[in-house]
């Protein structure tokens, strides 16, 4: 008690701040940092959840390096990122740009675009899974059959499966990105547009010289947000390929699904932890790159 009384007022304020912060800090350490640290440790061990843990050093990482399935999964994960992010970015910008110009039914349309974002990914995945089925129950193939075009195998094909699974994921993310873009577009001062009108400049030049450059911070934010989302995609894949997780012959398997499979079907915790560490590293690198881009503004 005497220790406390001898502190200055400033120092006393710091003590109180720490006192209040103590609970959330302890909570965070236990919930976030302790499991993360444990995962790192487990990646150097072998454990099947039931028995004891044995130290194996870098064995798990060596196995991972030599595992052809891992490299396929690695390519898939980046495929989700590389196809998903530009597509959703371009699509959501086009929608936001035109929606912004609209007055009639603006609110209603905005709500319609935002609805998929709020819908449960599981529900969405199952409905799209039904859409993708073949004749006689699949919606798309029934439409094609109505026009006399032969069926397309969406999910049961090594080439079509990944884009097919990605489509609802992009569709779901659109709503959020549209809202963010519209906020960004609204933030552009109208004085720029007025000046452009006075100069008699065409809409394309307005778009490329005024709107897009001023939307750069918004775009960077959306790219960061959606790329981390796509790198961690799981719900849509798992629910669309439940019986054969990861799609025909690992064509749709992202890294998170491989981790889940290794851990809870194979009960190989050490190997799964090694994969988790790899995923963590990828996300860290991607985030750092994008933060660097933001800072250069």
């Amino acid at each position: 008690m005497t220790l406390y009384r001898n502190l200055t007022i400033k120092q006393k304020q710091i003590v109180w701040a720490w006192a209040f912060l103590a609970v959330p800090v302890v909570f965070y350490v236990v919930i976030r940092f302790y499991p993360t640290g444990t995962a790192f440790v487990i990646s150097f061990q072998e454990w099947n959840l039931l028995g004891s843990r044995t130290w194996t050093g870098l064995d798990n990482y060596v196995t991972l390096w030599n595992d052809p399935v891992f490299w396929k999964v690695f390519r898939n994960t980046f495929a989700y990122l590389i196809i998903g992010t530009p597509f959703s970015l371009v699509l959501s910008f086009i929608i936001a740009y035109h929606l912004d110009k609209l007055r009639f039914m603006h609110g209603f349309l905005r709500m319609l675009y935002f609805l998929p974002f709020m819908t449960s990914a599981v529900a969405m995945a199952w409905v799209w899974r039904w859409f993708y089925q073949g004749v006689p129950i699949g919606l798309f193939n029934n439409i094609l059959a109505g026009f006399g075009i032969s069926q397309i195998e969406f999910l049961n094909s090594t080439t079509n499966a990944l884009p097919a699974v990605l489509a609802p994921a992009i569709w779901a993310g659109l709503g959020f990105q549209v809202i963010i873009f519209m906020a960004g577009i609204r933030a552009i001062p109208t004085s720029f547009y007025e000046a452009a009108k006075i100069d008699g400049v065409g809409w394309w030049t307005v778009l490329t010289q005024i709107t897009l450059p001023l939307l750069k911070p918004t775009m960077v934010f959306i790219v960061v947000f959606s790329s981390i989302g796509f790198l961690r995609i799981f719900d849509h894949v798992f629910n669309m390929t439940t019986n054969n997780p990861g799609g025909p012959l690992n064509a749709t398997k992202p890294l998170v699904l491989m981790i889940y499979d290794t851990a809870f079907n194979g009960f190989n915790m050490g190997y799964a932890a090694a994969q988790t560490v790899v995923l963590f590293t990828i996300l860290l690198i991607v985030s750092l790159i994008q933060l660097r881009l933001l800072r250069s503004e």
């Binding site: 028995g51 073949g134 006689p136 129950i137 006399g148 195998e153 090594t158 809870f264 009960f267």
Partner: protein, 420 residues
């Protein structure tokens, strides 16, 4: 100020201690815990059995907890080593080794469960639960495969009865397949999908019927990379590719196609009976699996067992033994058969006139007599190997020889990793 706080703290501690100590001294009925995974009918059946058991043993109460199937194994694995969890636990027969090695379960005492008696009274496949002088776990019910067929579609196509051989199977399926104008299948003669039960049909039935032996050395060595295996695989994939009586992935899941009335025949386990009975408008029948070209009959059976965990001690252990005896009694098995539709583990219950000749259960029960039970190291992993084997032929155009060689390699690796 300081002394007041100290006084308050001391008072509250004493109060709490008094509260807890009174609970510990209480002397009531022994309570044991039972865990199983959630499946509507099985939970209902177990509730019935618990009621019956508690009536006979008023000094014992059984508390049942169930979990979603996907979480079950992880929950048990986490709870028992921590000293929590059940006294009697349900597990899949394939997990016995893991549970034994992790000291999650203890052997059933040979005084109460003599091996000679159990050997004689239960179906032979249960002997996999024995090690040395003790049985480690016992099933209440077992499952096997049979051929479900749609009676309405059979009548429509003018077919008398279900096929008895593989050749008849193909011929019957051809009559039941419907195709639309563009050549798309709208009704399959027989369902097909390694993601369902077909991988068991392939392993334990087709391979054997083509003259092969799927595994050697007590299921530690893969042996289906042989002529018999290739013939079996060619037959299976040929159903879709050559005979065109089925399509992989038709209506997403084979059982969905059968329930929707768009499949003439469907191979599935006895656990499917409950949900088929609830499907309106579906008239279905059951037949034994068709015999092979040289008349070989085979079947795949699997079972869930109950065991006593290492957590059960003293009076809970005694209570657990009594509970185990009750749930493996003839009466319990009959109740299970009636409520869940799972087959009794003892011929004394299964082969009664009523049960063996039963229209629905008969073919399953008769199949138990010649069934084999695969010892899986990692069932979902080994199933995925066969799923990929068919996908490689279906989507990448590989031949049976190439694909089965790769599959045998992959599966051997899984077995080697497990048994090393």
């Amino acid at each position: 100020m300081k002394s007041t706080i100290q006084a308050m703290a001391f008072a509250s501690l004493t109060g709490t201690a008094a509260l807890f100590s009174s609970a510990a001294i209480a002397d009531g009925p022994v309570e044991i815990e039972y865990w199983q995974y959630f499946f509507d009918a099985r939970v209902t059946a177990m509730e019935q059995l618990i009621e019956g058991f508690e009536a006979e043993n008023p000094d014992i109460t059984v508390k049942m907890t169930h979990f979603p199937y996907a979480d079950y194994r992880t929950k048990v694995a986490a709870a028992i080593p921590a000293g929590e969890g059940p006294d009697v636990v349900q597990l899949f027969y394939g997990w016995l080794n893991d549970y034994k090695e992790a000291s999650l379960i203890q052997p059933l005492p040979s005084a109460e469960f003599p091996t000679s008696e159990i050997d004689a009274n239960f179906f032979p496949m249960v002997q996999a639960m024995k090690e040395g002088d003790n049985y480690w776990a016992l099933p209440t019910a077992v499952r096997s495969l049979a051929l479900f067929y749609n009676k309405t579609l059979f009548d429509e196509a003018g077919i008398d009865g279900p096929p008895a051989t593989l050749d008849e199977l193909v011929a019957t399926a051809k009559k039941l397949t419907k195709v639309d104008g563009a050549g798309n299948i709208t009704q399959v003669g027989i369902t097909a999908g390694m993601t369902a039960q077909d991988h068991h049909w392939f392993r334990e039935v087709l391979v054997r019927q083509m003259g092969g032996e799927p595994y050697l050395n007590d299921y530690t060595t893969v042996n289906y990379n042989s002529e018999a295996g290739q013939k079996a695989l060619d037959f299976y994939v040929g159903l879709a590719k050559t005979e065109k009586v089925t399509a992989f992935g038709f209506m997403d899941e084979p059982q969905a196609a059968f329930k929707a009335g768009r499949a003439g025949m469907h191979i599935d386990g006895s656990f499917r009976i409950g949900s088929l009975e609830k499907t309106r408008g579906l008239k279905w029948g059951v037949a034994e699996l068709p015999a092979g070209p040289d008349g070989t009959k085979s079947n795949y059976s699997s079972y869930w067992v109950n065991a006593i965990t290492t957590k059960a001690k003293d009076e809970k252990y005694e209570a657990a033994i009594k509970f185990m005896k009750y749930i493996t009694s003839d009466e319990a098995m009959q109740i299970w058969l009636d409520t869940v539709g799972e087959l009794p583990a003892k011929p004394s219950v299964g082969m009664t006139e009523a049960n063996a000749k039963n229209e629905v259960f008969g073919p399953f029960i008769r199949g138990l007599a010649y069934a084999n039970t695969t010892k899986f190291a990692n069932e979902s992993g080994q199933r995925q190997v066969l799923v990929d084997m068919v996908s490689r032929m279906d989507l990448e155009g590989q031949t049976a020889a190439e694909s089965i060689a790769i599959a045998a390699q992959e599966e051997q690796k899984i077995l080697d990793d497990y048994y090393k």
